[in-house]
């Protein structure tokens, strides 16, 4: 008998335990081939069996060697619960089971902070599910007809001037614009949020981009997609479709070399520029792309060697962050001839209201949108400690910012977009609608898009391996073999279908409150069954 080595990792220390039914297994090997993490392996097991074959009991005892599938007891190769093995098994002989007694969190810190992708796994509370649309038009104030009436589901993107600041002149009783005003585009209130090429596989990025272009060209929905910090393919930069894309610039400035070189060849302006200051999933922490994922094409697009790419947590300036952000705003505005809205994205924080106030009071009026990203936002790679223990919920933050603007009579001048957990339970339209009633002009979402493509990750520790380069669904990896797992067209179609339903569902929510345009700030349309939430958000408490 062996001595027990208690410090060794055992399968029952891992978050997922593989259950393999040798009796059903035909040893096809599909599961082992599908597991990108090397979490299972075929081994030969010694078994003893007793069989009786005659009419009377004639037990015959034999020892045989049987090949079986065994889980690897190794933290680095721990099963992620992705379920690929289960998917491919023709005989339902294998599946992962969540292990409530996992010790992985405790034991896996030997080599510095644990890194992973996905969303926060600790702060998955859902304020939005405690809010319902409770102001339904009845009798004197008829509901609209979601099928028959026209709805103007659009959000401004760009710096909106107060009416008395508009450079209007009068001629023959008609108002004319005497001077240029900052660019404002009316876009769909759902923005595909910034996931870079690099974080995503080119195919996954392409699928999202394809869905975006299709929604614009074929469905008449002006959905915008943010490039993420990682540049864009030159072909796209030089195409007509560029107008549907918001180019992101973050502290690493990755990809801008190419963007700037492409500028003289651009046939249209981009849909906007988004300056990323911070990200809800890991506020105060810069972007992170681990060397495993910096494949050749990523090196080319970003103009970097193969190495772990960490964007600094701040935009660096000579004097202060404000100064560099200001400069960046100005240069981005200038770069596209003041024709393209330039917005800013920050992680939600206890200080968001001050940031928003600063932007609102900025005399140059250069900020065309304030994107606030809450703690439930997703990421391709972050330190787990940041993901789970830093950040700020988005719902009250959007409300606070909106109300801060209301107090000054400046609401609507810098459009507010909220993200981080929108659609977490699959119901993005309801989430978006409630955010809009609380003061957002629109929402942005990323994680649900890749979930529509096939990502199986969730907030209960399933998969979350986007940082490893081994994404089992081919979404978050640069490994050409894995990337092939993703069907681009099917993925894009899934996103398109989802957004079309999102649009219908928004109408279904706008109709009963009698609104044909977005009810931005219509907090009177919402009620909450949670007193604390109602009080905090200034909506009616009901029970």
């Amino acid at each position: 008998m062996e001595t027990i080595k208690v410090q060794d990792i055992a399968v029952n220390d891992l978050p997922w335990v593989i259950e393999h039914h040798a009796d059903r297994c035909t040893l096809c090997g599909s599961c082992v081939a599908s597991c990108t993490f090397g979490s299972i392996k075929p081994v030969v097991e010694r078994q003893s069996i007793t069989v009786s074959q005659a009419n009377q009991p004639t037990p015959l005892h034999r020892r045989i060697a049987v090949p079986i599938i065994q889980q690897v007891a190794d933290l680095a190769k721990a099963c992620r619960g992705c379920g690929m093995c289960e998917r491919v098994c023709p005989n339902q002989a294998i599946h992962p089971r969540r292990n409530p007694d996992s010790r992985k969190t405790l034991l896996s810190r030997d080599n510095g902070p644990v890194k992973r992708g996905g969303r926060t796994n600790l702060n998955a509370q859902r304020t939005l599910d405690n809010i319902v649309v409770g102001r339904i038009s009845q009798m004197t104030d008829p509901s609209l007809d979601a099928q028959r009436h026209t709805f103007d589901i659009r959000a401004p993107f760009g710096r909106v001037l107060a009416a008395n600041e508009l450079p209007l002149k009068m001629e023959n009783g008609k108002l004319l614009m005497a001077k240029k005003t900052p660019p404002v585009q009316w876009i769909y209130p759902l923005i595909f949020s910034d996931m870079s090429i690099g974080a995503l596989s080119t195919r996954a990025w392409e699928a999202v981009a394809l869905a975006c272009a299709y929604l614009n060209e074929k469905c008449g929905l002006p959905v915008r997609m943010s490039s993420g910090e990682g540049g864009m393919p030159v072909k796209l930069l030089e195409s007509e479709y560029l107008k549907y894309f918001i180019i992101q610039i973050a502290s690493g400035h990755f990809g801008w070399n190419r963007i700037i070189k492409a500028m003289p060849h651009m046939v249209t302006d981009p849909g906007g520029v988004l300056i990323k200051i911070g990200q809800g999933a890991k506020p105060g922490d810069g972007g992170l792309l681990q060397a495993e994922k910096v494949a050749e094409h990523v090196q080319a697009i970003r103009g970097v060697p193969k190495a772990t790419l960490a964007s600094p947590p701040n935009h660096q300036g000579l004097y202060s962050i404000e100064e560099s952000v200001q400069k960046m705003h100005l240069s981005m505005n200038a770069a596209f001839g003041f024709r393209v809205p330039v917005a800013i994205k920050c992680a939600a924080s206890a200080t968001s209201v001050s940031v928003y106030n600063n932007l609102l009071r900025d005399p140059y009026k250069i900020c065309g949108g304030f994107f606030i990203d809450g703690i439930q936002g997703g990421t391709g790679a972050a330190n787990e400690v940041s993901l789970d223990h830093t950040g700020h919920p988005i719902v009250s933050k959007i409300r606070d910012c909106y109300l801060a603007a209301v107090k000054q009579g400046l609401q609507g001048q810098i459009p507010l977009f909220g993200g981080g957990g929108i659609g977490m339970t699959g119901n993005a339209a309801a989430d978006a609608f409630k955010m809009i009633c609380l003061g957002a002009n629109g929402v942005f979402c990323g994680k649900i898009l890749i979930q529509l493509l096939g990502c199986v990750g969730n907030e209960k520790g399933r998969c979350n391996s986007c940082n490893t380069g081994k994404c089992p669904t081919g979404i978050c990896t640069q490994d050409p073999r894995l990337v092939k797992r993703l069907d681009v067209d099917r993925g894009a179609q899934k996103i398109v279908d989802y957004v079309l339903t999102f649009d219908q569902e928004l109408r279904k929510l706008m109709a009963p409150i009698g609104n044909s345009s977005l009810p931005v700030g219509r907090s009177d349309a919402l009620v909450s069954t949670d007193k604390a939430i109602a009080d905090k958000l200034g909506i009616q408490y009901v029970c």
């Binding site: 004197t140 008829p142 001037l161 008395n164 209007l168 008609k174 404002v184 609104n515």
Partner: protein, 366 residues
Amino acid sequence: MCRIGSIKSKVPVHPSKALHLMLPQQEGHDNSGFAMVMQDLYGIFSNYKDKPLLSLACTQAGAHLVEEYMDSHNFLQLAEWIPVPDKKPDLDIQAMPYYIFRNYDYPEHCDSKEEREELLLDTRLALREILDCAGEGYVYSFWPDVLTLKEIGDPRDIATYFRLWDDNGCLVAKNIIAQCRQNTNYDIVRYAAHPFFLQGYTLCANGENTFYTKNKEFQKSLHRGYIGFESDSQNFLYTLHYVLHELKWPLPYYKHVITPLPFAEIDQREDREVLKAIRQSLANLEINGPNTIIAGLPDGRMMTCCDSKKLRPVVLGGDDTMVAISSEVCGLNEILPHRDMTKDIYPNEREIVVIDNELEVKRWKQ
């Protein structure tokens, strides 16, 4: 529910005319009150058309407070009309002790039009505040050639109380905007009854404004006169005042502000740049919901328009001497039975219809 009506006439008419316009529509308005704004006054006010007229309902203490304030702010009283009520038993009216209609002369050194407009507003707001704090009364308007009367009760009884059926020539005007209902949605507050008045603009609305919260939150910081918000219809007035008086935009743009065209339509138009800018800058003044409004402008013109889905009706009809606007055609039939009905106008969802001082009716398509 609400019904609204207005009369614009070449010859001054009595308030009873407005009551006759409104009463046939009573099934729709619940008879819970009567309120009217008269403009372009004749009869006892003929000689003071250029002097501001204060319309007040108050207690004795309230009247003192007002006098004190006006004296100390150098307003000189010129004329006064205090109706002697007909206190028949069993009248359904929650009368205030005093109704005071009083003309003042402007204080010295207040000569320009703008200065006077601001002073009159400030004075009304100050009086409102004083009376509110003391709980001693209500001030409805303070403006030259404009009289406001509002009361809670049955409109017929209110008219009896104020002797409005007498038609004795003392109280007549060329423009009257009226409504026969107190607020049935929220608390019964005298200030919540339309028509509402602000610096020469009068407005009555029938319907709902589902963007009330948005409008209110925005209007609160736009102008000191935008207060109260006892009714979602005040939003219509404040926006009218903001667009015409503050921004000084022509009237057709009011419609573009409250019911902007859908983006798809804006994009087809030559003036898209301006329309888009207006829509985005004044997104918080957009009005949603079913509604119709009737408004009186400082220059005496009267206008009507309705929501962009045409969920609330309104009709306009008249003859050479009188044109009336009414929620229901039965009101017009009562006071203008011999008009050419084929010329009645039912404004569509994209129209503003304006009656000018020569009773010419203009229709502007948005």
